[in-house]
Symmetry: C2
């Protein structure tokens, strides 16, 4: 790569908080962003060179993005791989992760089959195309179970738990009949590993421990509070997953840890991931900087954890209204807290509005305290009525 | 402060590399920048919400800035304090550091008098308004000495060394007759302390050691390789300087360390400073984030040094031509190097084009090695013909 006056320009489908944090990380490298997002003045807008307003599969918008960019990527898996592939060919700019990778991951059934075929442990699953097939599958897999729409899911949307066989009827009416069902895994912990696939190298960050409620990530504790052996096994599984992927970039790999210390892959996201926000302060190179490096074919930066870290999501707590947050000064006065506010105009129930990362001291196990501090910071932040 | 959808907007006079790094640091806090700069697509442009194209004293431009902003600041001391003051009053937005502080610092003679009057050690100096006065001053102060234009100096411009009494004639013809002369201080080291003045608090970073050539900063080594006692004395002097200042924000305070371990103040900059770029990776809160916090009246972040750090400036090496840098991948492959490229269109002799920061390991004194690594990184970066 040569750095020129304006540096390389990265065209990004999606301009939410992930796009915003990508822009923050790209700028020191001399890389600027153009983003495509349907919401005018989206979160990435203030730190992007330009926003093109359009939907994630808007052919004209993606074409404009390609014309302005030296490379294309996406920060949301609702990006359209066919359109991106066609336009990348026309404009002569690369797309990373590759459209094939995006296609594989977008269809949760295809994703799971690819993992299972490669011998990577996943929860038992079945394709379901009708209520009869769902009932048959449940009689094999048992309940509880999780029914997932094959496509279009995001942040827990598109996933519906089934408590008993009688729930089966209504679920497909809600999700559509292009679905799959997974056996419930009696996990002791949800982990995730952020991995990066570069030009000729793979790197993984240490496994984090995720706390979910209502299918939405609340906190990530790093390193995960499990044994060294389990954390290493989780990184090993993540490396196997990355080896299967064709496209370059950062991936979020969500895992289950069972009582016996086994690791099963839950889901893969082909982009920087909410459970990797801790890398901004907790690792020498953030998942966002490494995504930029990977997409542009540059050497990856070190992924070693630098200190214990907890990040806590700040979620909307009310129906749609203008976002106004108070308590900010109080959190900034907390010496080891780092506030990230995404600049969304409207607060909505469970919408990701920002996060707080709390960092510990090198060599100390203070993760319990950090988790308390992170939660207490979040409690001090309030959306005004 | 409340965070709203778009967060507070900071209006910044100047959009060079300091403005760019301010924007990078402001974004996580939910703060976006509007910058005023005469160069279209200035370095801050890609990460600013908006650029107004205009000179640093353009009344109409500063007015437009005031109308779009919740607070005003500047990243270059060529900003016009009178215009900023008037417009801030009209628009009802605060300016920080205050216009009075900017006036005091802009005039190097007034600055030195204020320091001397407060009992802060400075090199001996005299006002000079004519060649006769300069000759008289030199006969008292001796040579070598440094003649400085009272106003408009920047990056060593406006400073002319005098080797012997015979040089005196031509110097004022070059600098103008509104000047001052300072006795040469036989220093063993040039240090600087980055200080931040907040609403009700002062914070200083550890003293760094600056290597200058041709009056331009080449490298900063942190902590400075001198005794704990001298470093603490330097921080103490910086706190005295900050106490004299009325305005809130980050200051760069350049110091001389004499053989006897005395500290003298050389110059003050009322803004983030080149010798504080190490704080991005080397301190928990960077000088840029703390400037944003201070200007907006928010609590300051911790300034403790986290690890040994060396930053090296990447200067232009040729007459004006389009900037194209090679060797980037090689530097990114260096595990402890962090590249910062400012996105300037033209490379010019000695122009600051970017910097590389190299970070060490906690608790190790590896500053000599870090300095070598930083210099070797810089050597690998080449401007193409």
């Amino acid at each position: 790569m040569q750095l020129t006056a304006t540096g390389p320009t990265l065209g990004v489908v999606g301009g939410g908080q992930l796009g915003r944090m990508l822009a923050e990380a790209a700028s020191p490298l001399g890389v600027s962003l153009v983003v495509l997002d349907p919401t005018p003045e989206c979160p990435a807008y203030p730190v992007a060179r330009e926003q093109i307003v359009g939907s994630f599969d808007d052919e004209e918008g993606i074409r404009a993005l390609g014309e302005r960019s030296d490379a294309l990527t996406f920060e949301i898996e609702l990006a359209d791989p066919d359109v991106m592939e066609r336009i990348a060919e026309d404009a002569g700019v690369p797309v990373q992760p590759s459209p094939d990778t995006l296609r594989l991951i977008q269809d949760k059934l295809v994703q799971k089959r690819a993992l299972a075929d490669a011998g990577i442990a996943v929860p038992e699953f079945r394709a379901v195309g009708s209520p009869e097939e769902l009932r048959d599958a449940l009689s094999e897999l048992g309940t509880p179970a999780m029914v997932k729409a094959r496509r279009g899911g995001y942040d827990g949307r598109g996933n519906l738990p089934i408590e008993g066989p009688d729930d089966a009827g209504g679920v497909l009416a809600d999700l559509g009949t292009d679905a799959m069902v997974e056996a419930f895994v009696p996990f002791v912990r949800e982990l995730s590993v952020i991995g990066v696939k570069g030009r000729d190298e793979l790197r993984t960050y240490v496994a984090g421990e995720n706390v979910h409620e209502e299918e939405i990530l609340r906190e990530t504790v790093v390193p995960a509070r499990t044994s060294d052996e389990v954390r290493e096994r989780a990184q090993g599984v993540a490396r196997e997953v990355l080896s299967l992927m064709d496209g370059r970039g950062t991936y979020g790999i969500e895992l289950f840890e069972t009582e016996a210390g086994e690791i099963l892959v839950n889901e893969i996201a082909p982009r920087p991931h909410n459970s990797g926000h801790w890398t901004i302060e907790g690792a020498r190179t953030s998942q966002f900087e490494n995504h930029v490096r990977a997409v542009l074919g540059l050497p990856l930066g070190p992924t070693e954890v630098q200190k214990t870290t907890v990040s806590a999501n700040l979620l909307g707590d009310a129906p749609s209204r203008e976002a106004r947050l108070s308590g900010v000064a109080d959190v900034l006065a907390e010496p080891n807290a780092h506030l990230h506010w995404y600049g969304k105009r409207e607060v909505r129930d469970l919408r990701k509005m920002g996060h707080v990362t709390v960092t510990g001291e090198e060599g100390e196990d203070d993760r319990g305290t950090l988790l308390e501090t992170a939660r207490s910071c979040r409690e001090r932040l309030e959306f005004e009525p």
